[in-house]
């Protein structure tokens, strides 16, 4: 486990090598093979070390207290603020570490196929490696400040990679949007971290969470902010950060636009890893959240609301990647719902399974887009099954997983979240609403995912002639990661089997992190809850199947039904298609006033501030002019006048200096004569 520092180090080196050599050496830039060998090599090494560290942690040297910390060096040292660069391995970071390095590795390999021959190949891999580095810092750091560094680092890489095709206006706009929206969330995150530092005097996870007891009275005291307790305010600020990074209401708007980036980026950053950072952060801070029931309720409600809200938008989108984007937002909502009802391990479980099947879906869609030479519109697809069977099967596996059909991975995790929401008794009747919302969202998920599959892979082909010509199954470096991820979508759920006591390995693995406070409902529960769980499970499966069958009915058996519905409920349809006009609303309510204010301040700056400055300048200019006149005519005049007078006198005297000795002698003698005469006369 001492090797943990190597895990982020390799991608950092890879990013540096690709970035620096690529920037300064055109021949290196053209050598695509070398570029992707460096990038993939770095991530594969990092993944290997990560797997070893995880193995070491779980099997060989399980540390006492299930937390292994290694401080590399002190980073910031001031009188009362000390932050080390240190890494922490505990079950939670193990899960994240596995997901990030493993999926990251697969996506790097996939990218070598997908980005083949792209302009700026080196740039892509440098950013991708940099992202891996930042993400690993985020999940491995042992204090809030390192998490923040990683948090900002992934935000930066996300911005760079969304705007990868920066010559395209929409892509660079999307990058900016993602960055700015994330900054809003980060503001809350920073506030939360500062508050934690002020109260605990420390940012180290273990120190902070262990000293919660000593600060309990203060944490629970009321603040002027609506009378909420201190800890509620802190956790809500942190959660604001999470809504930004993990695309929850109200800050989810950037994620669908982020699909402008290359598809592997969407898969890695905007589906599997970065966007789950918010969930990770909430889970990491679970000891704090656990003290703030109001924050938890907010988390759960925002999660559920986001889940259903974005799922409903996903129902009608026609862009294959946008459907997946809204699906990601919706699934992230599930994770927050899980965390919000206190079932952190269920949330993290969903995070893990979602990481696999969503990455698989995105990579599959990338494979489709690649095969169709850039076509992303579902209306111009169909019957791809017969052309790209490997992509189809892996995509189908992942779809079954996200829809929650047993025994695929998503079933276990989603079902657990819904069950936990249903049985979260501390929430009162709110839990039924949360469950209902979650269940409807699950139905929608199943529907839109099978709609996607049916439109893209089954039914009649609507691919244009020209594209049909190039249609081909993708090469092995694309299908291989798909196969691996597809397998994980199928098998990943079995680490968290419900019902059978002791079989939920995942839950018991994470219990040291959340154990003390997690509201474990199922572990060793009675028969009634077991019966309830079985019923709930049946309901979930039925919901998923219903969605699946409805999609089949709508898009294969009788395609005229959605057409008819569309015409009948035109208003609903356009509203969904335009994403509830949220972007337009934000534009009107937030962006335009902001712009107006900016304009006003600009005017103020331009006219008033600059006016004062320019006025002073003009005044100075004028006074210098006066001074110049004074200098030139009075001072210089005096000096020159004296000089001129002297010159004139000299001119007269000059005549005397004839240069002839005779003249001098004459003057001398006449002078002598004069003096003697005077003497004689005046005597």
């Amino acid at each position: 486990m001492d090797l943990v520092f190597l895990i982020p180090l390799f991608p950092a080196l890879g990013a540096m090598i690709n970035g620096i050599f690529g920037l300064f050496s055109p021949s290196y830039r053209k050598n695509h093979k070398l570029v992707h060998t460096v990038a993939c090599g770095a991530v594969i090494l990092s993944c290997a070390v990560a797997l070893w560290v995880i193995f070491d942690f779980i099997v060989l040297n399980r540390p006492a207290g299930n937390i292994y910390e290694k401080v590399i060096f002190d980073w910031i040292i001031t009188s009362d603020f000390k932050t080390p660069i240190g890494f922490q391995i505990d079950p939670l970071s193990c899960v994240m570490l596995f997901l990030v390095t493993f999926v990251g590795m697969l996506i790097h390999i996939y990218s070598t196929g997908y980005m083949h021959g792209e302009e700026g190949y080196y740039r892509f891999f440098a950013y991708l490696n940099l992202f891996m580095f930042a993400m690993l810092i985020l999940i491995l750091g042992n204090n809030f400040l390192m998490m923040f560094v990683g948090w900002e680092g992934v935000g930066l890489c996300s911005y760079l990679l969304i705007g990868y095709y920066f010559t395209k206006k929409s892509a660079s706009d999307a990058g900016k949007k993602a960055f700015v929206v994330n900054r809003i969330g980060d503001f809350g995150f920073i506030l939360g971290i500062m508050a934690i530092f002020t109260i605990f005097g420390n940012l180290d996870y273990t120190e902070v969470f262990h000293s919660i007891g000593t600060h309990k009275a203060f944490l629970l005291s009321a603040t002027p902010v609506f009378g909420l307790s201190v800890v509620t305010v802190i956790t809500l600020s942190l959660f604001l950060g999470a809504t930004g990074k993990s695309a929850q209401i109200p800050l989810y708007v950037w994620l669908p636009d982020a699909m402008e980036g290359p598809t592997p980026v969407s898969a890695l950053i905007h589906a599997a890893t970065m966007v789950t950072a918010g969930v990770y952060m909430v889970a990491r801070c679970s000891p704090l959240f656990q003290m703030a029931p109001i924050s938890l309720a907010v988390v759960a409600m925002v999660g559920a609301l986001t889940a259903i809200f974005s799922a409903s938008i996903g129902l009608v989108q026609n862009d294959i990647k946008r459907v997946l984007a809204y699906s990601t937002v919706s699934q992230l909502g599930y994770m927050f719902l899980g965390c919000g009802v206190g079932a952190y391990s269920a949330g993290i479980f969903h995070l893990l399974t979602h990481g696999f099947f969503k990455a698989c879906l995105f990579l599959g869609s990338g494979s489709v887009i690649h095969a169709l030479s850039g076509e992303q519109d579902l209306r111009y697809m169909g019957d791809l099954k017969s052309h790209m069977p490997r992509t189809y099967w892996t995509f189908l596996f992942a779809t079954l997983a996200i829809a929650g059909i047993p025994p695929f991975a998503g079933f276990f995790s989603k079902d657990e979240i819904l069950f936990k929401a249903f049985t979260a008794e501390h929430l009162g009747n709110l839990r039924f609403i949360l469950w209902g919302v979650g269940a409807i969202a699950a139905f929608m998920t199943s529907f839109y995912m099978f709609r996607l599959v049916n439109l893209a892979f089954r039914g009649k082909s609507r691919v244009s002639e020209e594209r049909m010509h190039h249609l081909h199954e993708s090469p092995a470096n694309i299908t291989l990661p798909l196969a691996v991820l597809g397998t994980f979508s199928l098998l990943g759920g079995f680490i968290g089997i419900p019902l059978i006591p002791g079989a939920n390995v995942f839950h018991s693995f994470l219990s040291p992190v959340f154990g003390g406070h997690s509201l474990a409902a199922t572990e060793g529960a009675g028969h009634e809850s077991m019966a309830l769980e079985i019923v709930m499970m049946m309901v979930s499966v039925m919901i998923a199947l219903a969605g699946m069958l409805l999609a089949k009915k709508f898009y294969i058996v009788s395609p005229e039904i959605p057409e008819r519905l569309m015409n009948k409920y035109k208003i609903v349809y356009t509203m969904l298609l335009n994403k509830y006009y949220v972007d337009e609303l934000y534009e009107k309510v937030i962006i335009n006033p902001c712009e107006a204010i900016c304009r006003f301040f600009w005017k103020w700056d331009d006219k008033a501030v600059d006016g004062v400055v320019n006025g002073v300048g003009k005044f100075t200019l004028f006074s210098s002019f006066l001074s110049h006149i004074w200098d030139e005519y009075i001072v210089d005049g005096t000096v020159n006048g004296i000089a001129a007078t002297i010159e004139m006198g000299s001119k007269a005297g000059k005549k005397l200096q004839s240069g002839y000795v005779t003249t001098y002698a004459f003057i001398m003698l006449s002078g002598l004569f004069l003096l003697v005469s005077l003497y004689l006369i005046l005597r």
């Binding site: 000059k654 005549k655 200096q657 004839s658 240069g659 000795v661 005779t662 002698a665 003698l669």
Partner: protein
């Protein structure tokens, strides 16, 4: 005995001749000679008064003047030779470098 006045007249005439020579002549050697004339007129004055007043001081001064005149002639001639070497002329009209 020849009265003092006569000596004084002689001396004055000599001095005026010398002065006019200095003022009017252009040749440096002639000017030098005219200066000698003026010096000698002064010497005559000294000797005359020495006799008239019965004092040896005037005669001593006369010898002093003759000495000075000799050295002056030596230096003056040396200067004139140097001038001649420079400009190949001893006409003072050619030497007006101090003209303002």
């Amino acid at each position: 005995m020849i009265p003092l006045n006569w000596y004084l007249f002689l001396s004055a005439v000599l001095f005026i001749i010398g002065a006019v020579g200095v003022l009017t002549r252009k040749n440096a050697i002639v000017i030098l000679m005219s200066i000698e004339l003026m010096l000698n007129s002064a010497t005559i004055n000294f000797v005359a008064f020495s006799r008239y007043l019965n004092s040896a001081t005037g005669q001593i001064f006369a010898i002093m003047i003759i000495t000075v005149a000799a050295s002056e002639a030596a230096i003056g001639l040396a200067i004139i030779i140097s001038m001649f070497r420079n400009k190949n002329s001893i006409n003072l009209d050619d030497y007006s470098l101090l003209k303002g």
